[in-house]
């Protein structure tokens, strides 16, 4: 009798346990099916395709290398005549097969003992992320901050507008701007009247702002308010002073000096002219060569054949003739993206 009872109990135990596992498996399958449908895959029929198509794509640009390599410079001779682009030799975009663990599909994992439903879902999600990730890599600018005057304020607004439309624009780059800011007028102390960029609404010195942003790359476009307002000796000294402060406070940051952009034809007056801008830019280039910073020639990206700001790129043709239209900002962003992200 006892033996019979024990046998009945054992049978019932095994029956219930088996039923529980079966139901658990069914739920997992349903979840996997749902996720698979979300990305257009049939997780029963197309697992082999998924295995072959999940790749990890790595993009490395020479400019990014430059941020880590003290000796990197981009020489003037490398700038092409047509677009005057910085010829940072882009390391060829490499597409590599994933390591074994990332290539493991959810379907394969499903068969592995001890795999939980949650881990299966996570692997599916990972696969989805990799499938849907943009091929272009905007990560270069994620730890960058753009420092500048009203010209860069325009770039900031353009970038904000693009991001609010859901478009990628200079990654997660931040901005430290203030209208009429210059290398010179940012050297003094911060006050209610001073010219200093704002970080979260509060004025800060440039070097402090760069630190607050946590930036590893700083793109500086200043000078439009220097070269005509101060003597050559003054602005040359002030450029170096400002850069010294940024470097001293942020020893690990990579410095990129963007050239001053051109003035629209007919809007030059007195010392405020494109010849002086080119002279200023030549000095910036010289500083970059001396200090192993990267010179970024925006001037030639935005200028026409005569060296003036291209008309369609000008957002204030009836005013100052120096600020960018959306088309000009787009050209600027496109150049930066192409140069540093390899897109």
């Amino acid at each position: 009798m006892k033996k019979t009872l024990a046998a009945v109990a054992a049978f019932l135990f095994l029956l219930c346990a088996a039923e529980g596992c079966m139901q658990d498996q069914d739920t997992t399958n349903t979840t996997m099916q749902t996720i698979g449908e979300t990305i257009g895959y049939d997780n029963e029929d197309d697992t082999s395709t998924e295995t072959e198509s999940v790749y990890t794509t790595e993009y490395t640009s020479a400019a990014e290398t430059a941020a880590e390599t003290p000796d990197f410079t981009v020489s003037q001779s490398e700038i092409t005549a047509s677009a005057a682009q910085i010829t940072t030799t882009q390391t060829k975009t490499t597409t590599t097969a994933p390591p074994a663990e990332t290539a493991t599909t959810a379907a394969e994992a499903q068969t592995q003992p001890g795999t939980t439903r949650q881990s299966l879902i996570e692997q599916w999600r990972s696969a989805i992320d990799q499938r849907t990730a943009p091929k272009a890599d905007p990560a270069f600018f994620n730890d960058a901050v753009f420092v500048g005057d009203s010209v860069t304020l325009g770039l900031r607004n353009y970038t904000t507008a693009q991001r609010n439309k859901g478009k990628d624009c200079l990654g997660a780059a931040q901005f430290l701007c203030f209208g009429s800011m210059s290398y010179t007028n940012t050297i003094g102390s911060v006050s209610a009247e001073s010219m200093h960029p704002t970080y979260k609404g509060k004025k800060v010195r440039i070097e402090d702002g760069v630190q607050l942003c946590g930036a590893k790359k700083v793109f500086i476009m200043l000078g439009m308010n220097d070269f005509a307002a101060y003597s050559e000796k003054e602005w040359k000294q002030n450029v170096k002073t400002q850069l010294d402060r940024i470097r001293s406070k942020n020893p690990d940051v990579a410095i990129y000096l963007e050239s001053v952009t051109p003035i629209l034809s007919g809007m030059e007056h007195g010392r405020f002219n494109n010849d002086n801008i080119r002279q200023f830019n030549a000095y910036l280039k010289q500083v970059c060569d001396e200090r192993s910073y990267t010179y970024v020639d925006i001037y030639h990206v935005l200028s026409d054949e005569s060296g003036h700001l291209k008309k369609s790129y000008c957002g204030d043709p009836g005013a100052m003739g120096i600020h960018m239209s959306n088309e000009g900002s787009a050209a600027w962003v496109q150049y930066l993206t192409k140069t540093f992200c390899g897109e």
Binding site: M1, K2, L5, A6, A9, L12, F13, L15, C16, A17, E19, G20, C21, Q23, D24, D26, T27, T30, T31, S150, V151, T152, L153, G154, L155, R156, N157, Y158, T160, A161, N164, Q174, F175, F178, G179, S180, A192, E193, S194, M195, T198, K200, G201, K202, K203, G315, D316, M320, H323
Partner: protein
């Protein structure tokens, strides 16, 4: 004997029930309706701003999201229960509409302080740069009422104020 049988069967069913317990229905991840946290008489700030944009002469403006307000004005997201803002898109002129309903009185004070700082910064930017803009900015001020805080920088700020006044 019956006791033993009862104990064994009880143990079996308890264990089986526990095993079945792992097959809970999938969690419903459908977003639950959030508590609106919006007073019934709250002003539709986005609607007010649209009315201003539709009836007041302004340069090309770009709309800012609530997330943008920290970068542009230093307004922490948790201070703002609702907001509507836009600025001159060209970057060098300072026309602005900023309308905020604060989360609470303390936040309203913080928002007001930040917008006043922003207004002063705008004045400093324009003082030796664009005199007309400077004069315009100097005529403008941050206003508040209950939990609402707003700033209009425009030659037509009075018209904007008149539109907003209709909603109070």
């Amino acid at each position: 004997m019956k006791k033993i049988l009862t104990a064994v069967l009880t143990a079996v069913f308890v264990f089986a029930a526990a095993a079945c317990g792992t097959t809970t229905a999938p969690t419903d991840t459908t977003a639950q309706p959030q508590s609106a946290n919006t007073p019934a008489d709250a002003i539709d700030l986005a609607g007010v701003m649209q009315e201003m944009l539709g009836s007041v002469t302004l340069p090309e403006m770009m709309t800012l999201t609530q997330d943008d307000l920290i970068d542009y004005f230093g307004l922490e997201p948790q201070w703002c229960a609702d907001s509507a803002a836009c600025i001159n898109s060209n970057g060098y002129e300072k026309d602005e509409i900023v309308l905020v309903r604060a989360a609470d009185a303390e936040s309203a004070a913080q928002i007001r302080a930040c917008l006043e700082t922003s207004l002063e910064n705008a004045a400093a930017e324009m003082q030796n740069y664009l005199p007309q803009q400077y004069a315009m900015i100097r005529k403008c001020k941050v206003e508040s009422r209950d939990l609402y805080v707003w700033l209009f920088i425009s030659d037509n700020a009075d018209q904007m104020q008149a539109i907003l006044d209709k909603y109070f």
